[in-house]
């Protein structure tokens, strides 16, 4: 993975020093909480229900084991011994003391990390494919472009006070694992006659007003990416709404202008902009590309006899291999997903000790690198087939061997009312209850791919709009209710789900999920996933099942 040079290192040190001075002024009472708020928000520091929350940037979801061990140490030293991986591939600590934050930032800087632009109305952490550099599907490693964007966005002089937050996703595979069409900008790498380029999508998003973003340019030559991003951001900075926080995202501007008119304005600005001064020199692109060179893979046969024998002897390993192990571009290697969704646990949480153990496994078996997915799981991207059984055993020892990737218990949930000041309802206990109900691995495998996503409020941090089953917490006269939706997708076939009917009380949510699954099992044709059956039969049978009692 990319390593900092002296410039990158100086930059995060300067940032840590700056925030240290700002915190000192706050603690000394020289500035009020009101004046401090915009400063702390630029550093990912939120005041939540019980304590400060610090959100640490994990650029494009890639961590070295040195970085992961540092996060583990911070969890033990400054938090309650655990951290929470988010749907933006970041890590949050929920029990932080303000006076400790400057030291934490110093520790992060020492391992080439920061919390810069993890909040505030600026360009946020870039999302990318957790299988980057490992999947045979991709055109090239999308992290090359993600890192170039990270640097371009860092304290951008013109775009640090945008109408609202701004999120960019980059993927280079036809199978989209970044939810690109639900980002402010989604960049899909394409290979054209003229070389590498991107399909540019602008104006997707979730929140109160979900949109699947339209394509505004079919092919942008990759070498012009930076000048084109400047043009998009400039149109948004000038014309995005600032009078209403709920209408300030770029998706609203794109929807109001129409994708064609928005594209026309971007193209006109791009024609006028000084491209040669903004576009990166080829040498800089190559420098960063070299940072993502493939690790030293061994030449191996495509089939591992040891792995096949181990699977035949251990049914649990075979199940793990079916659900958590995916093909790698290099013969003899595999991509191994680590589920942070053990039934009954909080989705996305990992203890410091688990992080350390995962770092040990990554050092031993995956070139010292770990990935974070937007579905709140982790990935060991380069594991030899010969070593999968050892990785499985290591994960079992720390309670992280759940073989449930993409299954009913692999649920995305926001922190919800257990932590968040914005939430209307709890999300974590709902996720735990569903996961426990479907904890039987055979049942879960029989149901197959089913993406359940839960948000504790309309801001949709739990991505409920794009769940095959979406669950949204709402407040009804002081009671927690949950609105169900069906048919959403965050993948390349992105779609916003449709609301099923009236919200149901907390104790009925898992029953409703169960009833919908029954409908699916009854109606499905051979080979159909839940989402496929829904698309074929529509909402009605599911609705009838869930609301049958009410009739």
């Amino acid at each position: 993975m990319y390593r900092y040079d002296a410039i990158d290192r100086a930059f995060v040190e300067d940032r840590a020093a700056q925030f240290k001075a700002q915190v000192a002024r706050r603690l000394a009472g020289e500035i009020s909480e009101d004046q401090f708020k915009p400063l702390r928000l630029m550093n990912g520091l939120y005041l939540q229900l019980h304590a400060y929350m610090l959100r640490i940037s994990i650029p494009y979801g890639t961590l070295s084991t040195t970085q992961l061990r540092k996060l583990a140490w911070i969890a033990r030293t400054y938090d309650k011994g655990y951290g929470h991986f988010t749907t933006r591939q970041n890590l949050q600590f929920h029990w932080i003391k303000l006076r400790d934050v400057p030291d934490i930032l110093d520790h992060l800087a020492s391992v080439e990390m920061h919390a810069l632009q993890t909040s505030g109305n600026c360009i946020r952490n870039v999302t990318s494919d957790p299988r980057a550099g490992a999947t045979a599907e991709e055109i090239e490693d999308p992290r090359v472009w993600s890192e170039l964007i990270r640097q371009w966005a860092a304290l951008h002089p013109e775009f640090s006070f945008l109408p609202r937050k701004f999120k960019i996703a980059v993927t280079a595979s036809p199978h989209d694992r970044t939810a690109a069409r639900l980002h402010d900008i989604g960049l899909l790498m394409r290979k054209g006659r003229e070389g590498l380029g991107f399909e540019v999508i602008v104006g997707g998003g979730m929140g109160r007003t979900p949109y699947v973003g339209p394509t505004i340019r079919e092919f942008l030559p990759a070498e012009h990416l930076m000048s084109y991003l400047e043009a998009i951001l400039r149109i948004y900075n000038r014309h995005g709404r600032r009078d209403n926080i709920y209408k300030a995202r770029i998706k609203i501007l794109v929807a109001q202008l129409g994708a064609e008119e928005f594209a026309r304005q971007v193209e006109a600005e791009w024609e006028a902009i000084d491209r040669p001064s903004l576009d990166l020199p080829q040498a800089e692109i190559e420098r960063v590309r070299a940072g993502f060179a493939a690790p030293a893979f061994e030449t191996l046969p495509g089939r591992s006899d040891a792995f096949e024998a181990a699977k035949a002897a251990d049914y649990a390993l075979a199940r793990f291999a079916r659900n958590n192990v995916h093909p790698h571009k290099q013969p003899g290697y595999a991509i191994v997903d680590i589920s942070l969704k053990a039934p009954g646990e909080t989705p996305g949480d990992a203890t410091g000790d688990q992080m350390d153990a995962i770092a040990d496994l990554a050092d031993a078996y995956s070139f010292g690198e770990v990935r974070v997915t937007h579905e709140q799981n982790l990935v060991l991207a380069h594991v030899k087939l010969d070593d999968v059984a050892a990785v499985f055993a290591g994960l079992k020892a720390i309670g992280l061997a759940s073989a449930n990737i993409n299954l009913v218990s692999d649920i995305i949930a926001c922190p919800g009312l257990d932590y968040c000041a914005l939430a209307n309802a709890r999300a974590i206990p709902i996720a735990q209850d569903i996961a426990v109900r479907f904890a039987n691995a055979e049942t879960a495998e029989k149901i197959g791919e089913l993406k359940i996503k839960i948000s504790g409020c309309i801001n949709a941090c739990g991505h409920h709009h794009v769940g095959h089953i979406g669950i949204l917490g709402v407040d009804k006269k002081g009671e927690e209710f949950y609105q169900l939706s069906l048919g959403g997708s965050a993948a390349e076939d992105a779609e916003v789900g449709k609301i099923l009917g009236p919200a149901v009380p907390a104790d009925k949510v898992t029953d409703a999920v169960d009833q919908m699954i029954e409908v699916y099992l009854r109606e499905r044709h051979a080979g159909e996933r839940f989402i496929d059956t829904y698309r074929r039969v529509g909402l009605v049978p599911f609705k009838e099942a869930v609301y049958a009692e009410a009739h």
Binding site: A17, P38, L39, Q151, E158, S160, N237
Partner: protein, 167 residues
């Protein structure tokens, strides 16, 4: 009234402000340099300029720089208003003034102008500031120069990292 800080050749200092900013409800002074809101400039600017007076225009945060593009050669100053620090529209305006319109007069930041934004202001081409937080020129420049390296091209003359790396 916030004290005016001017930037000249990379050096910041308090400056005497010869300009009077004319509010909507005020009479335009009979003599001296003035800063007029855009609407007032449209009705009175021509006469004042023909009398040989220095005239600046104040743009509200929702007013576009293109609206004064024809007049830029005659304007000695453009003041850009930040009603809230988080209203960032005029960072773009300042860059366009410097980079697209080649404007070399004073670009002044007024309104909720805070030290924490100094680096963004300077990088976008502002060279005069009315800090609302009482910053001194020393504090202002320390904030503007806190980062030893920058990653992007701006309207200033700093080399971004991708250029530094080739040297």
């Amino acid at each position: 009234m916030p004290k005016l800080i001017r930037l000249h050749d990379g050096h910041a200092a308090f400056a005497n402000d010869a300009y009077v900013t004319v509010a909507d409800e005020d009479e335009t002074p009979a003599s001296g340099d003035v800063i007029l809101p855009l609407e007032r400039f449209r009705t009175e600017g021509e006469v004042l300029l023909s009398n040989g007076r220095n005239v600046g225009v104040l743009l509200a945060s929702d007013q576009a720089i293109e609206d004064i593009a024809q007049d830029l050669t005659r304007l000695s100053l453009v003041a850009l208003s930040f009603p809230k620090f988080r209203d960032g529209r005029h960072y773009t305006s300042a860059r366009l003034l410097r980079e697209r319109f080649g404007y070399d007069g004073e670009i002044r930041a007024v309104g909720e102008v805070l030290r924490e934004q100094a680096v963004f202001f300077v990088r976008c081409g502002f060279d005069a500031f009315e800090p609302a937080d009482g910053s001194t020129p020393e504090q202002w420049m320390a904030a503007a120069g806190r980062f030893r390296h920058v990653y992007q091209r701006g309207a200033d003359d700093r080399d971004p990292a991708f250029i530094e790396r080739t040297q």
